[in-house]
């Protein structure tokens, strides 16, 4: 015998759910599963995003070099024999390329590495076009090196480098007119002989950008300095201005129409698309004020205007969190309103304000669109000078450098762009971690 009623419309036992209740419970479970799925999907998307960037970019931190003895022949590099820099500068990188090619061939013969099927030009082409330039720089810095034979660590071209990173295969090389499978075989032989090695790529972080044809030499040096300068400008301007505005609005402003206009303004500015700030910077700072294009100072000013509302809002929240009893106590012992704020409220709100500031800075660091409009996309190879003059020198910024690299044809730049994102995310991670630590350590619950 069973307790289940024959007709579900007739009420059964409370211990046995009827069909309708079971349907409702199933709907409940479904609804809950949708919610959980949404959370899991968001977290998966975050993971996919990060993993794809890291998978593409991690190899940018490794670079293939070949180490060979280069004979710096006097006859080629300084015919006059006077070691006069002005004369020596007449020898271009092409002249150095020949010297290096000869040394490479000699080194191959020395080690007994076969070079069948490759012309002398093909052999030299496994090296980067940057290699002669780096040798030339070193010789011009120290002319006494001429005539000696020295070990040089030379950059390898991007295709051969890509071969070691798994980006280029021999099958693809057969179809690619920029590299031959035989060259890759030679690279394998060089590796077996211990002359070619892949090692950590410091130059990626310190070197300046390089032209379209030599992705293997492109680095983030100028962009990192440019971004650092802009953050300095943003910090020095937006911290005092933002805190002052927050203090006024939270502590002094009367509740009237005027204050309301400022408040609505600030919350709207926080939601204005960032590209609009770029248009403002172009129209006001470059066309009207006449500041130079591509300069970190202009980028800093634009980012300051953009960051200000995003600092004022958390700063006000931090001030609001300080209980009125603190103000009352200060006023009670005879402090003026200004003294009570400056001596008591502001120091107590400082951790919250700083946290907001760091998060605002982190947002400014990742901002790209407004910087495109003020000319930061320019190709800059010279490091800017020291501040304050250096703030007016042309520079790029980390996110903009990433953008410029995505616009170049060579697929090796995708690796560089993803690598640059890893650097950018590392900076952001550090900044956010500092913010979280600050909040954990100093946050007070009243």
């Amino acid at each position: 015998m069973t307790n289940t009623p024959a007709n579900p419309a007739i009420k059964g036992s409370l211990l046995m759910p009827d069909l309708r209740t079971m349907a409702r419970n199933r709907a409940e479970a479904r609804f809950r599963a949708y919610g959980l799925a949404a959370v899991l999907v968001s977290m998966t998307l975050l993971a996919v995003l990060l993993i794809s960037i890291f998978a593409n970019g991690a190899s940018a931190f490794r670079q293939t070099y070949v180490t060979i003895p280069v004979e710096l022949t006097e006859a080629k590099l300084d015919k006059s024999g006077t070691r006069d820099l002005a004369v020596m500068k007449k020898v271009t990188t092409l002249g150095y390329a020949k010297v290096i090619a000869a040394s490479l061939e000699a080194a191959l013969k020395d080690k007994g590495i076969p070079v069948e099927g490759l012309s002398a030009k093909d052999i030299a082409a496994i090296l980067s076009e940057e290699a002669p330039a780096s040798v030339r720089d070193r010789v011009l810095a120290d002319p006494t090196l001429i005539g000696q034979t020295l070990e040089f660590r030379l950059l390898v071209g991007s295709r051969v480098d890509g071969y070691f990173k798994g980006r280029v295969t021999k099958e693809e090389a057969a179809k690619d007119n920029k590299v031959k499978p035989e060259q890759l075989a030679l690279a394998d032989a060089l590796t077996a002989a211990g002359m070619m090695k892949t090692s950590f790529n410091w130059a990626f972080i310190t070197a300046p950008d390089a032209s379209e044809k030599r992705p293997e030499a492109a680095g983030l040096g100028v962009a990192v300095i440019g971004s650092a300068y802009m953050m300095l400008v943003v910090l020095f301007l937006s911290l005092p201005i933002g805190v002052s505005a927050a203090v006024y609005l939270e502590e002094f402003a009367a509740k009237n129409r005027f204050t309301d206009i400022i408040e609505v303004n600030i919350s709207n500015l926080a939601a204005v698309p960032s590209i609009v700030f770029g248009i403002l910077g172009l129209a006001v700072f470059i066309n009207f004020t006449g500041l130079p294009q591509s300069a970190p100072i202009v980028g800093g000013l634009v980012l300051t205007l953009m960051t200000l509302p995003r600092i004022i809002i958390p700063a006000r929240a931090a001030l609001k969190a300080v209980p009125p009893s603190i103000r009352d106590a200060a006023l009670g012992v005879g402090a003026s309103k200004m003294q009570s704020v400056l001596h008591h409220v502001l120091p107590l709100a400082a951790p919250g304000i700083l946290t907001g500031m760091i998060i605002g800075l982190a947002q400014a660091l990742g901002e790209t669109a407004p910087l495109l409009l003020i000319g930061m996309v320019a190709f800059v190879r010279d490091y800017p000078g020291l501040p304050l003059e250096g703030l007016f020198d042309p520079a790029t910024a980390l996110p903009v450098q990433i953008y410029s690299w995505t616009q170049r044809a060579d697929p090796a730049f995708v690796e560089r762009a993803s690598g640059a994102i890893i650097v950018l995310l590392a900076f952001l991670l550090v900044m956010n971690a500092v913010a979280i630590i600050l909040r954990r350590r100093f946050e007070r619950r009243w």
Binding site: F31, A245, L280
Partner: protein
């Protein structure tokens, strides 16, 4: 003497003024600081500032009207003289009852007000600079042709078609796809986290979802360009015969949708949490399940706020630049196929204003008209959203 040296000298002299003012005040009180109206330091600041401010103003005016890198002796003497005269006047009139504190605090307060006015100045700057250049644009290009034109074909040799509709269509198409992704995921995530999740789960999931909002848009752009674009092309668009383009409305829309999930979820989460517990308790007490309570009580109560959150997310999507620059393409088209490359207002602002620009040509100036339209559009959405959210918050407070 150079300008920085002059400023350094002024600072040093002002410091001397500070100590003079302080000493004078203490002397005026007969050596007993307690009898002063203001603390001695306020008198010091008052003297120092009455030296520094007029002198600095003089230097600034001089530098503006007759810029020179070297500071002549005459200039040095007059600037310093002005400053010292100011300080002397201040110091000599200092007495026991001088309201030095009130003076300093009034000045400080003026500075605070000035700082909060920068927000208004920024808005004015945005509106005026764009209005001015938009005016220039419409004096060269008929506004009806701009707003109702259906072809976008800029040509720097002149005679371009600058129709706005294809750009608006691209913008709205991308944003719609983004919202179709973000609204269901964001809303369900918010519901789950505020109604079902344990505090521990919430503690992990909420920061992770918010991390999506902290990632710079260029990262999403690159993700669209190198991962999502080719993936959609090879697995969806190509087999279905819908196109061979890696950058498409769908690519940009999907990636942008991921980016705005946290904008929907965070705000909705706050709003759902603000719904009073009594409403839930009442519903549960009459036998509704939790999902019935959420669907029939909590969501209707929170609806205005949720609509506000979605409007804010929309304005974010419309103004987003980097994802569409890298993911959507550059061809202005009026097409329904989501796997075709289309372009948006923000992309065209970037392309018309980067590189060699000529600020008299309509092809450049059109960017300002686009910028102003974008600004007005997002501003309207933001204001409506803010009004809705604000009104709603007050309802339950």
């Amino acid at each position: 003497m150079t300008l920085p040296a002059l400023l350094a000298l002024l600072t040093v002299v002002s410091m001397a003024g500070f100590f003079a003012g302080r000493a004078r005040a203490i002397a005026a009180a007969g050596g007993d600081a307690r009898r002063l109206h203001s603390l001695p330091n306020f008198h010091g600041w008052s003297a120092a500032l009455s030296l520094f401010v007029p002198a600095l103003a003089a230097v600034a005016l001089w530098h503006y009207f007759a810029p020179e890198s070297e500071v002549s002796a005459a200039k040095l003497v007059s600037v310093l003289g002005l400053g010292i005269a100011g300080a002397l006047a201040m110091v000599l009139t200092t007495g026991q009852d001088t309201r030095a504190r009130n003076r300093i605090e009034a000045l400080l307060k003026a500075v605070l007000i000035l700082c909060s006015l920068i927000a208004i100045a920024t808005t004015l700057g945005i509106v005026l600079s764009m209005l001015f250049q938009t005016g220039n644009f419409f004096s060269q290009y008929d506004w009806t042709r701009f707003f109702f034109g259906t072809t976008w074909k800029p040509d720097f040799r002149g005679n371009s078609d600058l129709g706005f509709l294809p750009l608006l269509w691209g913008t709205l198409y991308v944003s719609t796809i983004a919202l179709l992704v973000a609204v269901p995921i964001g809303l369900f995530a918010a519901i789950y986290m505020s109604e079902y999740a344990s505090p521990r789960m919430r503690g992990i999931a909420k920061p992770m979802i918010e991390m999506l909002a902290g990632i710079p848009t260029i990262v999403y752009g690159l993700f669209a360009l190198v991962t999502v674009g080719p993936l959609l092309r090879d697995w969806v668009a190509s087999p279905l015969g819908l196109g061979e383009s890696g950058s498409s409305v769908m690519t940009a829309g999907l990636v942008m949708g991921v980016m705005i999930i946290p904008f929907v979820s965070s705000l909705s989460d706050d709003i759902i949490n603000a719904v009073p517990q009594s409403l839930r308790d009442g519903s549960l007490a009459i036998g509704a399940t939790r999902s019935e309570t959420i669907r029939q009580v909590v969501i209707p109560a929170a609806l205005p706020g949720i609509v506000g959150a979605i409007l804010l997310a929309t304005s974010r999507a419309i103004g987003e630049t980097m994802i569409v620059v890298l993911g959507a393409g550059a061809a202005a088209k009026l097409s329904l196929n989501p796997f075709e490359a289309m372009t948006t207002m923000t992309v065209k602002i970037v392309s018309q204003l980067t590189g060699d620009t000529d600020f008299t040509a309509p092809e450049t100036l059109v960017a300002f008209a686009l910028g102003l339209t974008l600004f007005v559009l997002t501003l309207a959405l933001n204001i409506i959203a803010l009004i809705i959210v604000r009104k709603y918050r007050e309802q339950y407070e």
